[in-house]
């Protein structure tokens, strides 16, 4: 077992840092302030190959494994968690769903556009009244000849407004039946498919979150992913990978907050010495350093299983749960170490503090992760 980053991962981390220092760092506070989703950055990410990390080269992707994917998401998140979140959602949810469950024709049709960021992808499972309880969704698709007619609203959707294509999971059977849901691909511009309200958020403000509204939206049968009734089961499998994404996102935030706090603790002098010399501060950092390693090991373990096609439900839930809780607590401690300065926008920890909270909520709350883990350990 090798615990060091491989050569690809080091090159990828370097590439993202080099790009980010020039193209992201100087602008992120402004984007955050205005809640601007910087689409042009994603187009450039497309050129760099960061929007189809797991997509085979035959479909225009980069053809890497989850190991490199974790590096991508965490390094981008370290620069800007919101952009990291959008990279994660695009890669593992929308693109990941089509990659895992699309037929050959569907893969040929959508993956090259997604992998190069010609199109930005969205993925819709959640609804206003069904977050964790996805089985009770209200959005429906009714068959009409060779078409399906979708009605309903999906919300909290990353790229719900700017997404050029969306995978949506909708009800095609009975309420509460886990085999009563089906996944469809809907392209922007399809009559009856429109964007609703863009959310005004606490953090992750550089990532767009919006409603997707379907009103008698007709799509051809050929846009169905897999078979009728498989949508929920597919979504759960997509989320198994999605949790690795959010674990990686959390790792980036945790590491960013830790590194910022560690550096500041050596620069900031009080009582004629660096504040790192006080155990009240250095013990916080020692705890963070230890937990960071735990979060990394859990995340890479999940990636290793996923790369080898093994069941990953429990391990990805553990990684997501632990790493996201680390991100929130590290950001909190980092603000504390920075003191008054940490409470201002002059230092990055204020933003980590706001951005991190999404990690314990999105793609399954910490409580849902514990539910998943507890069900798995009972077997």
């Amino acid at each position: 077992m090798d615990f060091e980053l491989n050569e690809n991962q080091r090159l990828i981390a370097d590439m993202i840092k080099d790009f980010g220092e020039r193209e992201i760092a100087p602008f992120r506070n402004e984007w955050d302030d205005k809640q601007e989703f910087p689409v042009h950055i994603f187009k450039k990410f497309g050129e760099l190959g960061l929007m189809g990390v797991l997509v085979p080269q035959a479909y225009g992707g980069s053809g890497f494994t989850y190991d490199e994917y974790i590096t991508v998401v965490s390094e981008v998140a370290k620069l800007d968690p919101g952009i990291g979140l959008s990279v994660a959602a695009h890669n593992s949810l929308c693109t990941g769903h089509i990659l895992q469950f699309g037929n050959e024709e569907q893969k040929q049709r959508w993956l090259p556009k997604l992998a190069t960021a010609e199109w930005i992808g969205a993925w819709g499972l959640t609804e206003p009244n069904t977050g964790s309880d996805a089985g009770n969704m209200k959005t429906t698709a009714r068959k009409d000849g060779n078409e399906w007619v979708i009605n309903g609203t999906k919300n909290w959707i990353t790229h719900g407004k700017s997404g050029d294509v969306a995978v949506v999971i909708v009800r095609t059977g009975e309420v509460g039946d886990s085999h009563g849901m089906t996944a469809f691909v809907v392209e922007r511009g399809t009559p009856g498919f429109k964007a609703g309200k863009k959310e005004d958020k606490l953090g992750m403000r550089t990532s767009e979150t919006a409603e997707m509204i379907f009103e008698d939206c007709r799509i051809p049968e050929t846009n169905m992913l897999g078979k009728e009734g498989e949508g929920f089961v597919q979504a759960m499998k997509v989320l198994d990978g999605g949790r690795i994404s959010i674990a990686a996102l959390s790792l980036g935030i945790a590491e960013g907050a830790f590194e910022a706090a560690l550096a500041y603790s050596q620069e900031r002098h009080q009582f004629n010495q660096p504040i790192f010399n006080f155990q009240g501060i250095s013990f916080k950092l020692a705890d963070m350093a230890t937990k960071l390693e735990c979060a990394k090991l859990l995340t890479y373990q999940a990636a290793h299983l996923k790369n080898n096609g093994k069941p990953v439900t429990k391990e990805s839930a553990m990684a997501k749960y632990y790493a996201s809780e680390c991100a929130v607590s590290f950001a909190n401690e980092a603000v504390q170490i920075f003191g008054g300065y940490g409470y201002t926008k002059d230092y990055p920890v204020e933003k980590y503090y706001r951005d991190s909270k999404l990690c314990t909520i999105g793609e399954g709350t910490s409580e849902i992760q514990k539910l998943v883990i507890s069900r798995q350990i009972l077997r």
């Binding site: 590439m15 760099l48 960061l50 080269q57």
Partner: protein, 245 residues
């Protein structure tokens, strides 16, 4: 066009510089190494020239095995193959000899490198390589365009710029704005693994210089504040204490 790009493996510009072993060795602990920034310009221009004219880029480094990640990055950016001369780059003359030996093995139209490394900043290697190969050498080159068998170059000279037309082949030490630094993409990173990286032993291991000791520049002194009305004292201090006027 066949281009040889020589790269150095140097500490990142923000590294903390410290020495060990009684100040006889650079302390590499915690230091990240990068492609020399000026070499990076040379490589970027080589990639552009290859895009325009076709051909092949060979990247060359004189260094021990630890430099291979840096070489892989150059391959990821766009070089086609790499040669590592397996030796510690002791001094400029040693490095220039190794480069010349490799250059003689291939028929290169251009031999590009940075105008200087950013560790020892000697800025001598390109001139030495030119002499050893009997080729003209130019530095610092800020612009380089190739048409057929000639190149138009612009180099910086004292107080201005000089535009020259040169026949290929030649040696150039490059600097900005010859090209924009290139960031490797994921495909480049993936393909870097499979591109050839040949390790060769040094041809002549004679080292003509010997390092005795490193020394950091003296720490900056404290700032002396002088009242704006007190010009006399300022002049006196500049003349007698700082001795700059």
């Amino acid at each position: 066009m066949n281009i040889l790009v020589c790269i150095t493996h140097v500490p990142d510009t923000t590294s903390r510089i410290a020495f060990t072993n009684d100040n006889t060795e650079f302390d590499k602990n915690g230091v990240q190494f990068i492609i020399g920034p000026y070499d990076d310009y040379a490589l970027a221009r080589a990639v552009e020239l290859k895009e325009q004219h076709g051909g092949k880029i060979t990247v060359l480094n004189v260094g021990e095995a630890e430099t291979e990640p840096t070489i892989r990055k150059a391959l990821a950016i766009g070089a086609d193959e790499a040669v590592r001369v397996n030796a510690f780059p002791s001094d400029s003359f040693f490095v220039a000899n190794q480069i010349a030996a490799v250059a003689k093995q291939g028929e290169y139209d251009l031999i590009l490198m940075g105008r200087e490394s950013i560790d020892f900043n000697g800025g001598m290697v390109h001139g030495m390589v030119g002499e050893l190969l009997g080729l003209p050498s130019f530095s610092p080159v800020m612009q380089l365009d190739v048409e057929g068998t000639t190149a138009k170059i612009t180099r910086e000279i004292e107080g201005g710029k000089e535009k020259l037309e040169v026949s290929l082949p030649f040696v150039a030490g490059c600097q900005e704005p010859i090209a924009e630094w290139k960031i490797p993409n994921m495909r480049g990173i993936m393909s870097a693994r499979t591109k050839p990286l040949n390790v060769v032993e040094p041809t002549d291991a004679t080292v003509h210089s010997q390092l005795s000791k490193y020394e950091l520049p003296p720490a900056k002194g404290a700032v002396k504040m002088i009242d704006a009305d007190n010009v006399e004292e300022l002049v006196d201090l500049l003349k007698n204490e700082a001795k700059v006027i």
